[in-house]
């Protein structure tokens, strides 16, 4: 197990390298620059700008410098947000996104697993059909439609919740964004749980458990859940990647100052240091989280030996 973990951690470094190089390459290869606006700059001004940001050096020098800085965790200063270092921005924005993403996934797990289990245990009953229908709707409504609709309904019509602001965590302003973000995951997790539980409940060892005289409740919680939830665990890895993109959209819709929002703005502003900083951060987070999920899976299924 330990060797497996170390192997995976080591792999992160070259992957990070590839991702960041790719990103940097894309930014540089694209025509135009971050300072290109509507106006054409006077050549002298442009030359000054280039010197200031080190753009006058050869590309491999700049590449090398970027890599070197990254290795020291120095992502430089934002090109757009005057005076703020990328690290500062990351430090500020990350907890926001984390709070949002975490709450969303937690909601998704709780609601999804409960619903899916109930649906599986009461297969073909109205609970089953209703929850699967809702799940289907959840998968089908894009979050950028659901979000505004929720705002319209709960914020602007019923005035129950604030429409779009950010109050820190925890607060009522977290509710709608978290629900919006979680919707699609509730749906997926409910479906996965349902099919996983259905499959498990059909197995022989559940029959054995019943033959031992256990109550149905014990059979489900002690015997069925462990195996039935495995698909949900392995889903959680890729889910995180999706969650990130979902966060980007949700933060835009609800005007939340998280990493996602900063990322999009940075892309539009061609704010190279910030883009690279955020991409690096996200990459590490995703890879690290995937590793955690794999480890968790290894614990939950004793037949897997890394």
């Amino acid at each position: 197990m330990l060797r497996f973990i170390i192997r995976r951690i080591i792999v992160i470094i070259p992957m990070l390298f590839i991702i960041l190089s790719l990103t940097w390459g894309l930014i540089r290869l694209a025509p135009g620059n971050f300072y290109t606006g509507e106006k054409k700059l006077a050549p002298a001004v442009e030359a000054n700008l280039r010197a200031k940001y080190g753009l006058d050096k050869a590309w491999y020098v700049q590449y090398g410098r970027v890599l070197w800085n990254m290795a020291r965790f120095d992502f430089g200063t934002s090109l757009k947000y005057e005076g703020q270092s990328v690290n500062q921005i990351l430090w500020r924005a990350f907890p926001v996104s984390a709070a949002l993403g975490f709450s969303a996934y937690l909601i998704a797990l709780v609601v999804g697993i409960t619903t899916g289990t109930l649906a599986a245990l009461r297969q073909n009953s109205w609970i089953d059909y209703a929850s699967m229908a809702l799940a289907m709707i959840g998968i089908s409504i894009p979050n950028f439609v659901l979000g505004p609709l929720l705002i319209l309904f709960f914020g602007l019509t019923l005035f129950w919740l604030p429409p779009a602001l950010w109050d820190g965590f925890p607060s009522k302003s977290l509710v709608l964004p978290a629900i919006t973000l979680s919707a699609i995951y509730i749906a997926y997790i409910a479906r996965l749980t349902r099919s996983g539980m259905l499959e498990v409940m059909r197995s022989d060892y559940i029959r054995t458990a019943r033959a031992k005289g256990l109550t149905e409740g014990r059979v489900v919680t002690r015997h069925a859940l462990r195996g039935g939830l495995l698909p949900v665990v392995s889903f959680s890895g890729p889910a995180l990647a999706f969650l990130i993109t979902g966060t980007v959209v949700v933060e835009r819709v609800f005007a939340i100052p998280g990493l996602g929002n900063y990322f999009i703005n940075a892309c539009f502003n061609r704010d190279e240091p910030l883009i690279i900083g955020i991409v690096a951060f996200i990459a590490v987070a995703v890879l690290g989280f995937n590793l955690l999920v794999d480890i968790a899976y290894g614990f939950m299924d004793p037949r897997i030996r890394y």
């Binding site: 054995t208 458990a209 019943r210 015997h223 939950m300 299924d301 037949r303």
Partner: protein, 345 residues
Amino acid sequence: MSSSNGELLSVKNLRTYFETEDGVLKAVDGIDFELSRGQTLGIVGESGSGKSVASLSIMRLIPNPPGKIVSGEVKLDGDDLLKLSTAEIRKVRGKRVAMIFQDPMTSLNPFMRISKQLMEVTQLHLAYSSAQAYEHALEMLEQVGIADARARADSYPHELSGGMRQRVMIAMALSCRPELLIADEPTTALDVTIQAQILELIKNLKSETRASVILITHDLGVVAGMTDHIVVMYAGKIFECAPTPELFARPGNPYTRGLLRSVPDPTAREQKLYQIPGLPPDLARMPAGCPFAPRCERAEEICHREFPPFVQLAHAHFSLCHFANEVYASAESQTGSRISPPDQA
């Protein structure tokens, strides 16, 4: 509480039907049998004969949609199990009646250590503490012949061999000293060499614990050495029942005769392997008359028309056939089956 006539288990007119897309499947369609204390009963039949469903019905483990125990009486020591509430039947399962299944790989929880799976039974039914249950589990493992039980106890099922897993299942079943053990094809999924060991184990444990055993199998060889009494099932009905030596020596039913003839004789040379022609019937669409008639070599016109009577041939020997007496009589003059049960002690 002992019942009036000393029988441990008395099954009367048990019917278990399944609702399927193709119609109502009559998996078990009116069977009666009895089992005394300390006896071993063998239930023999091809796949689809209803033997497994019968045993699951005794423990009320039939999945409710689509199956249902439609009628009947299953008296364990006088208590009708079919009439018990859900809570009450749970107290019976694992404690008074225990079951072991065919495939130990899938019948044990792959995510749970075997010690825990063993402990569950005693903690539930005998209110053992964890420590007590653990020690008891070790004892049981030793009793079923798993060497080095202490070291093995915390393993997971996939870490054990097939034979060992089945022993664990047996240990689990016998943990609370049940009055009745139902073994549903306990050796079918195992290697031949292990089969003999497991059967021997069941036999020994049975005499030690004084449990009664119902042994379900399609393998006549298994039944010959293990059982006192045999019930032959086909298409959800009992076709013949008799004491074991009697059944092998003097079968009273063409189906039983067919089964016995199907066992290949290693000594006979140049013998064509016999097989009962045809396939078992579709349980959702049973023909009128005798269910075996389409495949029976003795079948006559009446067999296809009328359902056969349950004829008593000897003291404990019954056969479901229009020509039971003839078959029985002709069997007397033959040398009987190639399998003869060993002399029972």
